[in-house]
């Protein structure tokens, strides 16, 4: 196998042949202020303009040296299309929504032209642009929010979790099932637009909800979605998910993108034979506050543990030093 960025990522995803080195991938955003300044492309423009979005993603490959390109930096593209009022933020601040349109858990109205809403179209167009530029060279990664995350945006996180606590399972399930088609339609459209892999982010986060909540309320939905979306999916769930790794594998995902709180050796031992593991360089202590040498140590630990693709654990803080992101690339280039 040729050790090209594309081949390394795809082979690692399917746990195939190992090339000369592990790939450095970015299932979530690696945009930092220094990268915006270097390229002259900044947030919030890069959230709403397809060319800017694609060019900034390309910089992650060409300037930092990652083996994949991923153009969706916010977690609010679908929320905006479903009626949330968005504050798209600035160079120094990620977007956030200002309201919760379905606080009352009333029926979600998914617009007929969902995929043509500007916040959705922009991602699809950016993926197509990336495909044309680096298709077959670097892996093109798309990203969608799962129904659990979308429910946070629709009803408000605290409100949604309170209803989970109150045991309003029927209401919760109804909302999740009404949001499921949004996730599926966007994922399929991203593959059609040119994505090689789609990340499905669904924040049944370790420190927020228990494995039992995931198993009861979300696992059945994840199983249905992985069965019905043909292309390869990487699940992203933050927090310490040590207690639910097997459930993620049961759900039928091809890969799992995980945080530093989950020890890579244990993760590989538990589910490394069932799905590809992607991660898990610590954002807060290491990429943001640490040195390139701290980064290198964590990368080498993860590589030696058998993590298939090395990546920051989640979207990096905007003030992350660029040299720390480059340190990930340098450390994977040391090989296995």
């Amino acid at each position: 196998m040729k050790s090209t960025p594309y081949n390394l990522v795809m082979s690692a995803l399917y746990k195939g042949k190992k090339g000369e080195r592990p790939p450095a991938a970015n299932p979530t955003s690696i945009v930092c202020q220094e990268l915006m300044d270097l390229t002259g492309i900044s947030f919030p423009h890069a959230h709403t303009n397809a060319n800017a979005m694609a060019e900034l993603a390309l910089a992650g490959h060409e300037i930092i040296g990652f083996d994949s390109v991923m153009p969706e930096y916010s977690v609010h593209q679908e929320a905006a299309a479903l009626g949330c009022e968005l504050d798209w933020g600035s160079r120094d601040r990620m977007p956030d929504s200002r309201n919760f349109p379905y606080e009352d858990f009333s029926d979600i109205k998914v617009p007929d032209d969902l995929l043509e809403k500007p916040s959705m179209r922009v991602v699809l167009d950016a993926l197509s642009i990336l495909r044309r530029h680096v298709g077959g060279k670097a892996a093109v990664i798309g990203k969608v929010m799962g129904p659990w995350t979308l429910a946070y945006h629709m009803a408000g996180t605290q409100n949604f979790l309170l209803q989970v606590g109150l045991g309003e399972n029927e209401m919760i399930t109804r909302m999740l099932r009404q949001l499921m088609p949004v996730t599926m339609a966007f994922a399929r459209a991203q593959f059609a637009a040119g994505a090689d892999i789609v990340v499905l982010a669904d924040h049944a986060t370790g420190n927020l909800v228990g494995a039992y909540h995931y198993q009861e309320l979300l696992l059945p939905i994840h199983k249905e979605m992985t069965a019905q979306i043909e292309g390869p999916l990487i699940l992203h769930v933050c927090g310490n998910c040590m207690d639910r790794l097997e459930l993620f594998a049961d759900a039928g995902f091809d890969g799992y993108h995980f945080e530093w709180q989950v020890d890579s050796r244990t993760a590989v031992e538990k589910v490394g034979h069932r799905l590809a593991l992607v991660g898990n360089i610590n954002n807060s202590q290491v990429l943001f506050q640490g040195t390139p040498e701290d980064v290198r140590k964590q990368v080498r630990y993860a590589v030696e543990a058998g993590v298939d693709m090395i990546a920051p654990e989640c979207a990096v803080p905007l003030s992350t030093p660029l040299e720390n992101l480059k340190a990930i690339v340098d450390a994977v280039r040391e090989g296995y």
Partner: protein, 213 residues
Amino acid sequence: MSEIIEQIKSIVVAGKHKEIEKIVKAGLDANIDPGAIINDGLIAAMDIVGKKFGSGEIYVPEMLVAAATMKKGLEIIKPLLTGDASQPKGTILMGTVKGDLHDIGKNLVIMMLEGAGFKVVDLGVDLSVDKVVEKVREIKPDLLGLSALLTTTMPEMQKVIVMIREQGLRDSVKIMVGGAPVDSRFAEKIGADGYGKDAADAVQLAKKLIGIN
């Protein structure tokens, strides 16, 4: 008598919010001291809830329901308190720093602090440095709690502390910090008085900083 208090405790721990009103009223009808219902029933229950959360036995959904149950009970009793029992143990100002709209962690800490008998003033989210300093000057709290969920907003905590010092207010208020990306090393670095790793820990820290058992 203690049987009713035990029942109140287990109802809060289990988050049986529909049953709390009846049992608290039964306690009052049986002439149980309102202070005892609060301390040995409601607050003791939240201690258990906090520990269960810390150990990963329960999660945010259950904690929210338990806190709502406690609050319901508290509202029935509060008007009946007199003398020392009606006095808050201290005043705490709480808020999420500039650029950060996350408030579940902060809200959980507030519920636990209120349960523990503190008066809490919630400043909300996305707070500018000036706003926090202005409120510290105005309300004169014993303790200021700052929250951040995002790594990107952590530096704002330091700005608040620096400004409080510059304004000569630092000696009159203790400061605690918390939130997912924060740790004790960071708290020490920015000059905070302490770091709480979760809501239960924050209550213990608040008690320590204010100087009560």
